[in-house]
Amino acid sequence: MTLQREKRQYSWGMVVDVDKCTGCQACVLACQAENNVPLNLQDRFERARAMSWIRVERYWEGEFPDIKARFIPIMCQHCENAPCEPVCPVFATYHNNEGLNVQVYNRCVGTRYCANGCPYIVRFFNYWEPVWPEAFRNHLNPDVTVRSRGIMEKCSFCIQRIRRGVRNAERENRNVVDGEIQTACTQACPTDALVFGNFNDEDSKVSKMRKDDRHYTLLPHLATDPNVVYLAKIDPDRSAGASHG
């Protein structure tokens, strides 16, 4: 039985400081490599079937010439009240007791209902069997399942890394230390815009960052209660505040 957020040992989450994001796409690339995400060839984009577990959305603000590019990285928000979870008929996606919205590939039958339920559009369906060029075969991450066609997939907060970190800590009879576990995207982020950690650890970096005045979540009116918290862009021209969502 899943515990409430406060009673969990770990409650994984991420804080995204939008102010620091430069839109460099390093996180996207790192994620693609870490999680065996299939290559997005031209036809995948043309048919609007491209997959990227994390994406950097770009918005234009203002009118030319007074125009600014805004970036916001979006990945699975690992909502506490995730709309995608209860609709799955086979429990292929559910909430585990570390606060993660997990996807169980073996159970998935590919109804794609979860994807319809997700307001952030971060769930992906394998329309085809994934193929990699011969040269790429040996680059696949052995810790991560290669998904077959016909199932859903999405950001897992690099669950393979979390599992290894927790296992190591348990072996040494201690709690996971803050910063010990890094997801591929946080590791790759050159500006530290993405920070991963345990929300239940009062001293963790994410817990401290979350107390910032600039914090907000995406689509708050849907009351999904995400585990990804954003910190708003600091705009010298305007007072800080939630500009997205």
Binding site: N81, H221, L222
Partner: protein, 478 residues
């Protein structure tokens, strides 16, 4: 649930009254001249008893009106003081406004059983006059569409600030016109009967309104067409008024309440209550005006079945909305559940649900209950109580939302429970008394069962011998 009761002793000859739940005797036909004289007599009969009642009801109505004026003087500016009045108007309109649909639907579907009850059902629509009068303080008290420069959500979108005021009034007046038209279209042959068989002012009144009715084929055909047209008009106005009342006087007062089914839910429970009013009215007419000869179990049984169906429909419409909110659980979805159901009127909701749905469901499901006059009437009483409580839950909750919060995305802090004060109780009793008084007064002029309908019923109905059994033959003219 199923219409067949178990036969026992087809030829026992036991009087129907004694064994209502068993096989009932086929009702005897009544000769046309008897019908006319007896039904005309009901407008005079029992005069002192009815007159006493009318005095009492009149007094209560008057007190209600006086109290309403006092309330206007001292509590005019408090929007949340008017919640119970709004609930009362909604209830009266729901209960009495829904009744004529029984007559209209039955007539359009050419059902023979509906004929004896069509008049009473149509007369109920008179209450729209009372509703309109009581709506005036509500309309004037309705918060503006634009408050502090912010526009609240409403079905009028960018419309002028006074849209709800105007349209509510237009709708109500159209309703009154179509109600009067419906009653009149039904009543012309009866006015002619008054002209021919009454005395004094009633005769002159009948002669005036009968408009030269002598019952030619053309006149009958015109009349049927008029009933069809007025019935359709009434039906559409009825739906429109429910749409207006439910959105302007409830939904759009609660920020975040976006419930597309609500007008239909409102209309469905109104028809349910209308059936209940019809049953109670007929029950009283049968008991106190001595109309046993004309009102049979057939009528009660058929309305009982409809009432049962609409009780289940209420449950269906409620759960259709509820499950969407419960499952969706976005901020405004949760607001709906937390405020309108689990909120300050939780117990009212539980009682409403019990009386409007659960109890009538398990009560009316028994054929034995529906095959008795009292059983059906008890079910009807429960439903009326339930519909009233349901309106209290919805309207009082809506009217107590503070005006400064009305344009938020959704309500986050909920106002506490408001109980009716003495003035509210007097107003509610007065409005109800006024409604009953109006119908009672109308039956002093027009017979409570329409004469021509009853004659038509008997014309198309024959108890006959079929080989070795007795059956009824029902004529189905074009």
């Amino acid at each position: 649930m199923a219409s067949e009761a178990v036969h026992s002793g087809a030829h026992s000859g036991v009087h129907a009254e004694a064994h209502e739940e068993a096989h009932h005797e086929l009702p005897a036909r009544v000769e046309p001249d008897v019908t006319t004289s007896e039904l005309i007599a009901t407008t005079e009969a029992n005069a002192t008893g009815v007159r006493n009642w009318m005095w009492i009801l009149g007094a209560l109505t008057l007190v209600g009106i006086v109290v309403a004026f006092v309330k206007v003087l001292i509590e005019w500016s408090d929007q949340d003081e008017w919640g119970y009045t709004a609930a009362m108007v909604a209830f009266l309109f729901s209960a009495f406004g829904g009744a004529p649909l029984v007559a209209i639907a039955g007539t359009l579907a050419k059902g023979n059983w509906v004929r004896p009850i069509a008049r009473f059902a149509a007369l109920c629509s008179l209450v729209s006059i009372i509703c309109t009068i009581w709506m005036i303080p509500l309309i004037l008290n309705l918060p503006m569409l634009v408050v502090d420069g912010a526009r609240r959500r409403s079905i009028w979108f960018e419309g002028p600030d006074v849209s709800p005021h105007i349209w509510a009034l237009v709708a109500m007046i159209t309703l009154i016109i179509s109600a009067l038209g419906l009653i009149y279209a039904y009543a012309i042959p009866d006015f002619a009967a008054m002209r021919d068989h009454s005395t004094g002012w009633k005769q002159r009144f009948g002669a005036w309104l009968a408009r030269g009715w002598i019952g030619t084929t053309v006149q009958w055909r015109t009349m049927r067409m008029r009933i069809g047209m007025m019935g359709t008009l009434y039906f559409f106005t009825f739906v429109f008024v429910h749409f207006i009342i439910s959105t302007d006087f409830a939904m759009s007062l609660v920020p975040g309440w976006r419930d597309a089914i609500f007008p239909m839910y409102h209309a469905i429970s109104s028809i349910q209550a209308g059936l209940a009013v019809t049953v109670i009215g007929l029950w009283a007419a049968r008991k106190y005006l001595g109309l046993e000869k004309y009102l049979h179990l057939d009528q009660f049984w058929s309305i009982g079945r409809l009432m049962f169906a609409f009780t289940l429909l209420w449950g269906y419409f409620f759960i259709s909305a509820f499950i969407v909110f419960w499952y969706g659980r976005s901020g405004s979805d949760q607001m709906w559940i937390d405020y309108l159901i689990l909120g300050p009127y939780f117990w009212v909701f539980i009682l409403a649900m019990l009386f409007i749905w659960f109890t009538p469901w398990w009560w009316l499901i028994w054929n034995r209950v529906r095959r008795s006059y009292n059983g059906t009437a008890i079910g009807a009483g429960l439903i009326l109580l339930g519909v009233f409580l349901d309106r209290v839950r919805l309207y009082v909750a809506a009217w107590t939302v503070p005006e400064d919060r009305i344009h938020e995305r959704f309500l986050t802090e909920y106002p506490s429970t408001v109980y009716p004060d003495v003035m509210d109780i007097f107003i509610m009793v007065g409005a109800l008394a006024g409604s009953i008084l109006l119908i009672l007064a109308a039956t002093r002029v027009l017979p409570i069962l329409s004469i021509w309908d009853v004659q038509q019923f008997n014309l198309l109905y024959r108890p006959v011998e079929y080989m070795k059994t007795k059956v009824s033959l029902i004529g189905k003219p074009d």
